[in-house]
Symmetry: C2
Subunit: 211 residues, 2 copies
């Protein structure tokens, strides 16, 4: 654990003003998570608001029988919205957050929240913007699974992956199937279709997004 320079913070979080960055730099700890580490698990109490400064975190929803359903990634400059809704135990909610690569996180103890909200307007704007964007994102997920068929959902999924990971996606069909709650065979078949569309190129362990 170590702290981060205010300048560095502002680079990642442009909404922060100088005072806020100084305060956080002063009071927060920085922690490194390794690939596969769990930042957040179902039914957990939060002690920190978590800001990602490096790396990448995957958020997904768990079903009763252990199914996974991909929600979104947190990237540098993002905060974990749920970690900021920290006052209450997140009851039956079972959202998982896992580092998909080595990830550096600024952890602000929750006892500072009231102070931050009250005295640092740029903090509160940041919080609002974080909620807003995550809410939007989740609503888009609802759209997809409520209204769209698998082929469109797969395409949307791949596009989102490409937005975050770049056009070369190191994913097996099985991994994709888990993320969108389908099955490997279906994904394979749909990928073939997308390939004949020219939307992707499919190789073993790699899908190149050309959308």
């Amino acid at each position: 654990m170590f702290s981060l320079e205010p300048k560095e913070l502002i680079k990642q979080f442009p909404l922060f003003d100088q005072e806020l960055a100084s305060f956080i730099s002063e009071e927060a700890e920085t922690k490194i998570f390794n690939q596969g580490d769990v930042l957040m698990r179902p039914g957990q109490f939060f002690k920190y608001a978590m800001l990602v400064v490096r790396g990448r975190v995957k958020l997904y929803r768990e079903g009763d029988e252990g199914e996974e359903f991909f929600m979104y990634y947190l990237e540098p400059g993002n905060a974990c919205a749920l970690s900021m809704l920290c006052m209450a135990r997140s009851q039956s909610s079972s959202i998982m957050a896992v580092a998909v690569e080595e990830t550096e996180v600024v952890m602000i103890p929750i006892q500072h929240m009231d102070n931050l909200m009250k005295n640092y307007p740029s903090w509160y704007h940041f919080v609002i913007e974080t909620y807003r964007s995550r809410f939007e994102e989740v609503l888009n997920v609802v759209d997809q699974i409520a209204f769209k068929n698998m082929d469109q959902r797969l395409e949307w999924y791949l596009k989102r992956q490409a937005d975050v990971m770049g056009p070369n996606l190191n994913l097996t069909h099985q991994q994709i199937a888990s993320d969108i709650n389908s099955s490997r065979e279906v994904v394979s078949r749909l990928l073939k279709k997308l390939e004949s569309n020219g939307t992707v190129e499919v190789e073993r362990n790699n899908i190149k997004w050309k959308g």
Copy 2:
């Protein structure tokens, strides 16, 4: 438009303290929406944070082809989370809010948000709690449509309706089908199954929840 006594406000919003209630009573307007009135539509700018003090508001998501998908109700004591994420135009998001009965709403102009956040801690706790509970609710919706079959989704839908509307649900099968994005025939058949389970009683225009 008229204002509401602080006492009345606190009765509906127990998280509010005296000063906050006075401020809101001073600065906010109260508006009555009739059944069917739209409080919020896709791509709208918000000028007010909206607090429901009487009545009921239905929030649903619209698909590209005009499908509807029920998300949740706002009841007295609830605030519209999205109306509080008011800083930004809610881009491609297309969430609709419609009064399902005559509904009284306290409307706080957004120019007061900074002040409220800064000087009224009980406001900020209320806002956080509003976000948290709506986020949870939407995540539960995701669970249902991601992991469950129609029969379970129908049951969950009816239970939620009964929680809000009481055990006698004045719904046609067609209305239910729209809310869960299915078709009337499917709903009819599944309701029969639920009836033979003893979970509901089905009559014309009325379903009695016995869960």
